[in-house]
């Protein structure tokens, strides 16, 4: 099993979610995060003072998957989250050693 974490632009969440559903991903967890990278932030001005905002709102999708789905999921996310402009985000793939479904106590790939 693997864990995928994808950092995407917030307005892409809906299409990424649908696409992941289509390829058979049945669960995911999302977190509102802020990202810093090549993408420029913006400047705000209030009562004559300037504020530079470096951190840009992003959505972090995290998925745990059986190994066979990983490549498909990575492709699905890459395709649907891409706008082509800087700041589209990243996908990280990481190892997972065990999974438990709390409701049933099932473990391993059944629990995903």
């Amino acid at each position: 099993m693997k864990r995928i974490e994808a950092i995407i632009k917030p307005h892409k969440l809906d299409s990424v979610k649908s696409k992941l559903n289509d390829i058979g991903v049945t669960g995911m967890t999302i977190t509102e995060v802020k990202g810093f990278g090549r993408q420029r932030g913006h400047k705000e001005i209030y009562r004559g003072a300037e504020y530079h905002i470096d951190f840009i709102p992003k959505i972090l999708i995290s998925l745990v998957l059986t190994d066979d789905l990983v490549e498909k999921a990575v492709e699905a996310i890459t395709e649907t989250a891409r706008t082509g402009s800087i700041g589209d985000g990243k996908i990280f793939v990481m190892p997972v050693e065990d999974v438990v479904r709390i409701r049933t106590g099932e473990r391993g790939s059944e629990a995903v």
Binding site: H42, K43, E44, I45, Y46, I53, F55
Partner: protein
């Protein structure tokens, strides 16, 4: 002795109109918060600034152009000339009527929210308040002898002058029908409908919206009652009819919308919009019915506007002010009749004609002004600006800086 009483009455009238003016001025804060709560967070600052700046610009333009057009009075003499004789009664009358005139851009603001450019919108507001509104206002309440005067054309043709006590037609219908033209020419917000599929855009903050509704409801009693324009003319009936129509609007909206907070808080307003015209004539139970019908019109037509007509009228100002205002103008000819417990002195024919003329006037003027400005300079934010929100795009700051910038 009579002289002392007259002087005191004059001062009383100044106070009366001043209180009315302040109460209706406070309603503009209500317009602002109604919009703040209904738009997305990224457009809240713009809602606030628009309403406040439109009010300021309206003040200047109505002072110098609008009020003179409607009433043939102007204030360019010395302070002494314009204020001493009557303790400034005409000045506070101007103030009171300004707060009505300035309601036009405040109404429109809610329809065109989240995507209109700032300065073109201000310019359009100035034209409406300086020219368009005062011409129709003058025809009904002022010096342009046509619809509302005892000896006007319509009084002869329709059997009675056009009656619009506190502006269902002059203010609300006018504002609502001007707005719908703007809303259509502006087009829907990005993403509101994609490939014919409707993606309703959720409102941001119901307590804020309710605060706006409360501010409007409270001030509205000044709008209606102080339309007497003198203490002597005050009518308790106007107050209670406003109350009953508001209650009718709330209850009808509650039932018809199955307890939807947006419709209920706007239902109160629907009742108040519709009651203005005949608030001095209805029986309280008539007023209740007028308000209840208004709320049903509002709820049903807002849904129809969204689902069938696909007009992206953010606050629903066309059904609320346009349609309920129109209904109010006509209802005055129905429930104002003695047969229905009213005080009489109105005819359905005159009410119908006056109301329709108002509506056509608004459509024509609205189309002309919006079309010219749209062609000349454009009225809409770029897609990129709309995406980041009018707050950042226009004001370079968003509504909750500590949150976005970090403490």
């Amino acid at each position: 002795m009579d002289g002392r009483l007259d002087a005191f009455k004059n001062s009383g009238d100044v106070l009366f109109l001043m209180l009315g003016a302040v109460m209706v001025f406070a309603m503009h804060g209500g317009f602002a918060f109604l919009e703040v709560g209904t738009v997305r967070k990224k457009n809240q600052v713009n809602a606030l600034v628009k309403i406040l700046c439109d009010f300021a610009v309206s003040t200047v333009i109505y002072f110098s152009i609008g009020f003179p057009i409607a009433y043939g009075l102007s204030f360019f003499g010395s302070a002494e000339t314009i204020s001493s004789a009557d303790s400034g009664l005409e000045l506070v009358r101007f103030f009171f009527l300004l707060t009505f005139a300035a309601a036009i851009p405040a109404i429109i603001s809610g329809g065109i929210a989240e995507r209109a450019r700032f300065w073109p919108q201000v310019a359009i507001a100035a034209v409406f308040v300086g020219l368009v509104y005062p011409v129709f206002e003058g025809m009904v309440w002022g010096q342009i002898n046509f619809l509302g005067q005892e000896d006007s054309w319509l009084a002869g043709f329709g059997g009675a002058p056009f009656h619009d006590y506190a502006g269902s037609v002059v203010v609300h219908s006018m504002g609502g029908w001007l707005a719908v033209v703007g809303v259509i020419l502006l087009g829907p917000r990005v993403g509101r409908w994609t490939n014919g599929r409707s993606n309703p855009i959720p409102v941001s903050n119901i307590p804020m919206l309710a605060l706006g509704s409360w501010m409007l409801c409270v001030g509205w009693f000044g709008f209606n009652v102080m339309s007497a324009q003198s203490v002597d003319g005050i009518s308790g009936l106007v107050a209670v009819n406003s109350l009953m129509s508001m209650a009718g609007g709330i209850i009808a909206a509650l039932v018809v919308s199955k307890n939807d907070p947006g419709f209920i808080h706007n239902g109160a307003l629907a009742g108040l919009v519709a009651v203005c015209a005949g608030s001095d004539l209805f029986h309280p139970l008539g007023a209740f019915v007028v308000g209840a019908v208004a709320a049903v019109i509002f709820v049903k037509c807002f849904i129809w506007e969204q689902q069938v007509l696909k007009i992206d009228d953010v606050l629903g100002v066309w059904p609320l002010h346009g349609l309920c205002g129109t209904w109010g103008g006509i209802a005055c000819g129905i429930f104002g009749q003695k047969a229905l417990g009213g005080l009489g002195g109105v005819t359905l024919l005159s009410q119908f004609i006056g109301t329709i003329i108002g509506l056509l006037f608004a459509l024509t003027a609205g189309f002309t002004v919006y079309y010219v400005v749209k062609s000349a300079v454009g009225i809409r934010l770029t897609e990129e600006e709309e995406f980041i929100g009018s707050d950042l795009a226009i004001h370079r700051i968003d509504a909750y800086p500590e949150e976005s910038i970090g403490g």
